[in-house]
Symmetry: C2
Subunit: 238 residues, 2 copies
DNA sequence: CGAAGCCTTGATGCGCCTCAACGTACGTGG
DNA sequence: CCACGTACGTTGAGGCGCATCAAGGCTTCG
């Protein structure tokens, strides 16, 4: 196995403040993996043996209910950590992580976790900040699901995807990995039918352009407005 | 101000493995606060200046949407930490923490956070485990909201409350703090009307007994069964 | 070139929100 | 201590948002 190049991770937030020699040491215990589209990186209920950083691609994190329904917990973009169960004291991975496209990840054994965070406090801080952001996001999603209607939630999901994985094109900003109506329905707690109807409507109104597994948003602001409640100012008087 | 007694916290999980002298040092920088029912411990959007442990009582953690709707993020039981924003890199508290009954809390300034987790790794581990559990809970709630119907969610909420704050009585197990229909609706993403109808029905069926702001569950198992989907085994064949 | 996966669109129905009205327990101040 | 205001709880009637059921078209890939 050829040595991994520190340049792979030197610029990523979790590692940014770590010196070269230490990076090389870290990489010494890492394994690089190519994960083809559709394959699992880790599975719900499996013993958590490693944590990962996604070097390239996009990962879909999915929970499966006892009845077999799927709910997408989040998408992971390139440069983000995943499989942080050890940091939170889990024995098993709580969800499936599936490559949405061909991916490249680095995997570290969880056995080096304690030592790593002890030796690199900036890494620890950064990691816990990531977890904090994810907890926030998840809380926000609960609030959304409790208070907003499907149309708003779907619009919000698209806008959020644009922020994290958007790529500019001439027609607008597109979501940079294949995403189906079903995926969006699993992110927002609705059905693919309803998502299809919504997207059809928005395409008709010129807000988006969509092909099979591909969505380009041309009027992001309008979409954001739909997401934020239909321009109803809180009328506190009466 | 009189010295705080280490016995107050010595038996609580986060502090269990810390020696007496260090506990006293920790308590040296702590402030004990009595918070009357209904008062805020900290507020959404406020600068996060402290973290807390709840010595006695129950705390309701509530998010408020831009439109003024409330969503209950969680209840905190005695012995749990709260206001852990610093650990996750937040500058502001992301929600309101309100005393559901008269409470007693210890407050530490966030300035001692870094040093504390550095000096007491068991405290750090324990804290991050708490956060892990809460992240899990929140994720589970998203899954519930996406896949289950109101009746199941309300039943699940009651069962969960029994686990964390249940107190045995002769009639069954009661939720040990005043909780309204509205509270439950804000935990489950429905309306107080629907909750009222459900509880009325369950009371009629002898599953629960309920007074004003007071719920006693006599048939916990049946309730758990309602929560877990109406006894529909996953039919994987077709 | 066929099969499988993805997408669309219509018809139908129901779960739950909304609106409305009233009953009841609580606590506060005269 | 009683009267009143306020918060909490109940129950009905009506309707809408979205799931569900159904059927068919289109793209991709082996």
């Amino acid at each position: 196995m050829t040595k991994l190049d520190p340049a792979l991770i030197a610029d990523l937030p979790p590692f940014r403040e770590i010196g070269r020699p230490e990076l090389e040491e870290l990489l010494g215990s890492a394994k690089a993996l190519r994960v083809p589209k559709g394959e699992k990186i880790f599975g719900q209920g499996e013993q958590a043996k490693s944590f990962f950083i996604l070097l390239d691609g996009t990962v879909r994190v999915v929970k499966i209910t006892p009845l077999g329904e799927q709910v997408i917990a989040r998408f992971i973009a390139a440069g983000e950590l995943l499989g942080l169960s050890q940091a939170l004291g889990f024995v098993e991975y709580p969800a499936n992580a599936i490559a949405a496209v061909d991916c490249v990840v680095l995997a570290w054994p969880n056995s080096i976790w304690d030592e790593t965070i002890a030796k690199h406090p900036t890494f620890a801080t950064n990691t816990y900040q990531t977890i904090g952001t994810r907890l926030q996001d998840t809380q926000d999603r609960v609030v959304e699901m409790a208070t907003e209607r499907v149309e708003q939630r779907v619009a919000a999901a698209l806008v959020k995807l644009l922020r994290t994985t958007g790529r500019k094109t001439e027609e607008g900003t597109m979501i940079d990995f294949p995403i189906s109506r079903q995926d969006i329905s699993e992110m927002t707690g609705t059905t693919l039918h309803t998502v299809s109807r919504l997207l059809s409507g928005w395409e008709h109104d010129g807000l988006i352009v969509s092909k099979r597994q591909k969505i380009t948003v041309s009027k992001r602001d309008t979409l954001a407005q739909i997401a934020g409640g239909p321009a109803v100012r809180p009328t506190l008087s009466h």
